[in-house]
């Protein structure tokens, strides 16, 4: 019930953001911000409720994971919001959040019984850090997408909907970089805590389980991107494209692995 309420709140915020994107009226933007903030609070309460109902950190089912993903993206955005004035980022971010919420809404909301192997202090640490990382990387994806849209209009010299509505290339490039500098350490930490937990649960640090392999691949994509940025000055379009590719790898790690390559990480059903 609470989940449905926060989903509706997100949808409202997204619609308001889209209306703002079209009309560019400042009042509508303030309304959208308030709505998103409210939705974020409601969602936090939802997750706390799930925690109490389940008796353990609710990050084991598909529904909970995707819902937490949306939650971390919301707060990644809201915490960024005050520091960086990036025009119309909210529209893009809220669209992704709503999509995630829709996916969460479609999957089973039953509370899972936790198998003994997963009962550990590492569960909340590993899973929340990993998904928080995803939240920031998702925002990096949004800014990468915005960068490509803006760069396209500037290069083609055809000024359509995006030219006046999107921020400057440099602002977007900086945002991509900031998302990575927060998201990448979190991702690293997520992998490390995961391997500690694996040691505790299954006896060895690394299993080459598909999810582990794919998070490593994702990690390498982002590591290469940061490395190239500092060494060869890969920025602008290349950084934007890589932020998008990296996020596709994140999504594959999240879903592709679960549904196509089952392993020890499968969600509790």
């Amino acid at each position: 019930m609470l989940f449905t309420l926060s989903f509706v709140a997100y949808l409202l915020a997204t619609t308001t953001y889209v209306v703002f994107f079209i009309t560019q009226k400042k009042k509508i933007r303030s309304a959208a911000r308030c709505l998103l903030f409210g939705a974020g609070i409601l969602h936090t309460v939802t997750i706390l409720g799930r925690y109490i109902a389940a008796g353990h950190t609710p990050l084991t089912t598909h529904h909970d994971t995707v819902s937490f993903f949306a939650w971390s993206m919301t707060w990644a955005f809201l915490s960024f919001r005050w520091r960086y004035q990036v025009k119309n980022l909210g529209t893009f971010v809220s669209l992704v959040i709503s999509a995630l919420m829709a996916i969460a809404a479609l999957s089973s909301q039953d509370i899972a019984v936790l198998p003994p192997a997963l009962q550990s202090v590492w569960l909340p640490i590993h899973a929340s850090i990993a998904i928080l990382a995803d939240g920031f990387l998702a925002m990096g994806f949004c800014s990468g997408l915005m960068y490509l849209l803006q760069e396209r209009e500037l290069k083609k010299k055809r000024f359509g909907v995006f030219y006046s509505r999107l921020p400057s290339l440099e602002a977007l490039d900086t945002l991509i970089h900031h998302c990575l500098t927060v998201g990448f350490p979190l991702l690293t930490l997520g992998i490390i805590t995961g391997s500690f937990w694996a040691k505790q649960a299954w006896g060895s640090y690394w299993h080459w389980d598909p999810k582990e392999t794919w998070s490593l691949i994702t990690w390498f994509i982002y590591a290469a991107m940061l490395h190239q940025r500092f060494i060869a000055g890969w920025r602008g379009k290349r950084a934007a494209v890589l932020a998008i590719i990296g996020f596709v790898a994140v999504l594959f790690t999240l879903w592709g692995v679960t549904f196509l390559l089952p392993g020890v990480h499968s969600y509790v059903r």
Binding site: F159, Y163, P167, L169, E170, A171, A232, G236, K237
Partner: protein
């Protein structure tokens, strides 16, 4: 003289692309246009205007077809445009249309960036150059002067120039979309022309941190750099400077490209791919169009810049409409003057003026005299006789023009001496 003998033939940014316009640049020999146009038969008066967005000949001609052909040939003499293709690029305005067009040009309604202030100065220079060489006469002198006052009127009565739009303004808008904040950015001006100066001014208003001027002659570079507290370098240092700057404004008078794609590619590596914004406001172009294909390089030439301005065009459309109304109104006034500038209307006006003075003075004098009908009649006769005798010689003088030009001048002279156009001028 009828309005239809006023013509304007030319190309502008709307009718011809940069690639064609740059072939018509007349910078190599500034005297050539005047020499060539003077030789064209039937080209009675003319004014030659050449800016980076337009080349126009404003002229009057009694027998027109051959004159028009000759002017076309003159305009395209240095280009590789085939004779049968010329008509695709030019416009020819006649009579009312020509007057309206000139007014619109002067008021910057026909500019690439509507409302930009440079064109009026350029038109004034063009007129001065033409009149100093005695290429203009009665008609064009009046027409051009009117054009200047129409432009001034539009500037004060409408808000057309209010948003301070110009090519450099458009460039600043773009720079903001690329860099966001311009405060820690550097700009390199290549070529020390007026356009470069204007662009630099706009950029400095936006807080740009440093201006560097590169020019073929170091002296001019130093002078311009001084104005902006910047530094001057020689053109041979161009590549080294490009590693450091963020924006480059090129406006040299070079006949070919001064910067190629292959030269900039290695520079981008040295810059660690920091974005580079290249603005080419030169005609002929200075920068290789292929530069835009490089990652993180954004190249805009004059034509591209116009599209940026298109974006907020709607806001100015209303002001433009008010300006167009002024143009229409002023065109009608000029047409009225031209109609009057003929022999019969001038003589009629002269006689009417004399008659009205006689009538007024008679009425005043006779109102306080006690005279009989007979005396009044003779006084009236005398007054009429004096004025018609006084006017006899001037009328004889204006009737006796040898050439067309001579007649025009005499008419103009007479109209001025007797103040025949004063009434309509007062209304303005």
């Amino acid at each position: 003289m009828s309005a239809d003998s006023i013509l304007i033939l030319g190309v502008n940014h709307k009718t011809a692309p940069v690639a064609v316009r740059e072939q018509l640049a007349f910078s190599s020999d500034p005297e050539r246009p005047f020499r060539s146009l003077k030789e064209i038969p039937g080209c009675a008066e003319f004014c030659f205007l050449s800016t980076c967005n337009r080349v126009e000949v404003i002229f009057t001609s009694p027998h027109q077809t051959e004159t028009i052909q000759a002017i076309k040939k003159f305009l395209f003499a240095t280009s590789n445009v085939k004779e049968e293709e010329i008509d695709n690029f030019i416009y020819l305005h006649r009579g009312t249309e020509a007057i309206t067009h000139l007014y619109r040009v002067a008021a910057s309604l026909d500019s690439m960036v509507v409302g930009e202030p440079q064109i009026l100065g350029q038109l004034k220079d063009a007129y001065r150059n033409s009149s100093e060489r005695e290429c203009t006469g009665v008609i064009l002198n009046r027409l051009l002067h009117k054009a200047f006052s129409v432009a001034k009127r539009i500037r004060t009565e409408t808000n057309i120039g209010g948003s301070a739009v110009s090519i450099s303004y458009a460039a600043v808008e773009l720079a903001k979309k690329i860099f966001g904040n311009l405060e820690d950015k550097k700009v390199l001006l290549v070529g020390a022309g007026e356009m470069a100066e204007l662009a630099a001014e706009h950029l400095i208003n936006q807080g740009i941190s440093e201006v560097i001027v590169a020019n073929r002659t170091l002296e001019r570079a130093v002078n311009l750099a001084k104005r902006f507290n910047g530094k001057a370098v020689g053109l041979n240092e161009l590549h080294a400077q490009m590693e450091l700057v963020d924006i480059l404004v090129s406006s040299t008078g070079a006949s070919g490209l001064i910067l190629h794609q292959e030269e900039v590619k290695p520079i981008m590596k040295l810059r660690k791919n920091r974005p580079l914004f290249l603005i080419d406001i030169a005609v002929p172009r200075d920068l290789d169009p292929k530069l835009n294909d490089l990652d993180n390089v954004y190249l805009y030439d004059v034509d591209d810049l116009s599209q940026v301005v298109e974006v907020n065009k709607a806001e100015r459309e209303q002001e433009a409409m008010r300006a167009e109304r002024i143009v229409t109104e002023e065109t009608l006034k000029f047409l009225h003057w031209i109609e009057e500038m003929q022999l019969t209307p001038t003589i009629t006006a002269l006689r009417q003026k004399a008659d009205s003075i006689v009538k007024a003075e008679l009425a005043r004098t006779l109102s306080h005299c006690n005279l009989g009908a007979k005396e009044i009649k003779s006084i009236e006769k005398m007054a009429v006789a004096i004025t018609s005798k006084l006017l006899h010689d001037p009328i004889h003088f204006i009737k006796q023009g040898h050439s067309h030009e001579d007649k025009q001048q005499k008419l103009d002279f007479a109209r001025k001496i007797f103040g025949l156009d004063l009434e309509s001028e007062k209304e303005e």
